[in-house]
Symmetry: C2
Subunit: 353 residues, 2 copies
Amino acid sequence: MPRLKIAVIPGDGIGKEVIPVGIKALEAAGRQFGIDFDWVHFDWSCETYHRTGRMMPEDGIEQLSGFDAIYLGAVGYPGVPDHISLWGLLLPIRRAFDQYVNLRPVRLFEGVPCPLASKQPGDIDFLVVRENVEGEYSSIGGIQYEGTEHEVVVQQSIFTRRGTDRIIDYAFKMAQSRTAKHLTSATKSNGIYHSMPFWDKRVQEMGKAYPDVRVDQYHIDILTAHFVRMPEHFDVVVGSNLFGDILSDLGPACTGTIAIAPSANINPEKQFPSMFEPVHGSAPDIAGQGIANPLGTIWAGAMMMQHLGYPDVHDVLLRAIENVLRTAQTLTRDMGGNAGTEALGNAVIAEIG
Amino acid sequence: MPRLKIAVIPGDGIGKEVIPVGIKALEAAGRQFGIDFDWVHFDWSCETYHRTGRMMPEDGIEQLSGFDAIYLGAVGYPGVPDHISLWGLLLPIRRAFDQYVNLRPVRLFEGVPCPLASKQPGDIDFLVVRENVEGEYSSIGGIQYEGTEHEVVVQQSIFTRRGTDRIIDYAFKMAQSRTAKHLTSATKSNGIYHSMPFWDKRVQEMGKAYPDVRVDQYHIDILTAHFVRMPEHFDVVVGSNLFGDILSDLGPACTGTIAIAPSANINPEKQFPSMFEPVHGSAPDIAGQGIANPLGTIWAGAMMMQHLGYPDVHDVLLRAIENVLRTAQTLTRDMGGNAGTEALGNAVIAEIG
Ligand SMILES: CC(C)[C@H](C(=O)O)[C@@H](O)C(=O)O
Ligand SMILES: CC(C)[C@H](C(=O)O)[C@@H](O)C(=O)O
């Protein structure tokens, strides 16, 4: 009987409310396939930062390294600047464990009102593949003449051939495995002089190995417009760290699923643990009220099972989410219902059976 | 009788088709107020590049410097890489003439189908204020180990205190002049370590002089989502060069006006000529067919008149556009009609009276 060792970091705010529900759902689905879990909790958060001056202990990465995967709630709280909380936990984990792929599915579900006029469930079903460890997210650079009127800030983006090729190759593979076999690349080579023309060249080059995949590319400005105008056009969309970040929030906004979108931070080679989290943040405004929506966390858990080699568990969880959305009887406030976090979680678990 | 000296750069593709219509509309509206124009044409384009190896002559900037304004169609054509055509014309003009403000209005018009469900004309009316000369649009950086598997691309963004403060200050002033007095700042200080926390600090600092303006800020990822979910929330939105670029395409996509959006590249101090252009590109796929939509070019012309001190001419032009859209009888194909460029232009001119 397989036993999965999962590191759990609930984090801040509603992270602490949705993670327990995610765990319950995973246990219910795992049980059907004889899968057991060891959940080991880490209370790393902004609270920890207030107490210790660090988001996680110095040997935090080491502590996580033996796990099969990491299950993260959300990090960030008022009083701790974002760039401290995130560069102290989320971003170092992504990097230390070389989770260079960020996967974010975008789907229009039955039962979820679509903000776009005249789209039907089934019309929209695509995947954003985001580079997750280099590019525009960089702490390289600094400030000259700090604090004076002559201040100059230099911010560097770093794109390596290795880092660029491997994410593009991953995206091509994903596209090839799907029915539409269609890859869209996000660029901005008309404005950003060095990195983006390089990106385009690598897309062209890597594409040679995938003659059956249709490729197009759009500048990020018009691409965001196309997400609104013709979301059904997209199948797999690949972007740099920043562009992927933008597109993977915009995509779910177009399908009304921003509150339930999952994010998988993947090390495809499985040399290191991968990390799974909902896209939403810690939401201090509704924290503590028991009304947070746990579906993104459950969906992230489903992606974790897929990654760990249990696609059946993934499918059971996803079908349960679909069914709960379709009947729309037990939804949280953000989706127009009045159920609490636990009730919605229980509805999913009931569907799992 | 005022005589305005306008440099005209039709550029490539449909740029050459919409600019003549824009000129006719401006003449018609100007006539009502006794304003005359000298139009001086410059055939700078990708064609010029093919012939001469340059997008514009070496003394191009000098040639433009005596004009009251520049009226630009669109630049770019297949066979000339974007980063060459744009860094050879559009971007140097913006910089040489210190057009550090890019203004892009977003409006939901009566008669224009909205891609968002359940929005009404009047719900959406905001302005994107984009930094237009520094930031992420930078040719600083380069490639190490070029052409080998060890390639590393460094791409720098440069944010100066002066450049950041003046765009933020301009945005505050715009917000203060409007009814809602509401400014939204686009950031990404949780991922981009140096430049974006600096941007946030400057917003906070500059805001002190505008206690009557309500300020909020969103990370660019969730901000794009909010454009789709609650566009009525926004009044003035300020962003860096890249974020402003993205938001000013996404905004018009949300109101179905991407084909008719205008862009004003402004030097507020009027030390140098400002430049006015439609947001759309040269659209090689429909060029030469006489079906391009000229409304963005006319709207850009209206903004030119506003900038040059003739708000009445602006208003006449804008009302004409509104009326043509409302009756929806003479629209181009992109808006669901079957009129050509000239017919739509004539409809606007008829409305001008
Ligand atoms: C063509 C391109 C360089 C330009 C930009 O990004 O500035 C365009 O998208 C715009 O918004 O005017
Ligand atoms: C919190 C932030 C640093 C993070 C990111 O931009 O990567 C988040 O937006 C995400 O997409 O996971």
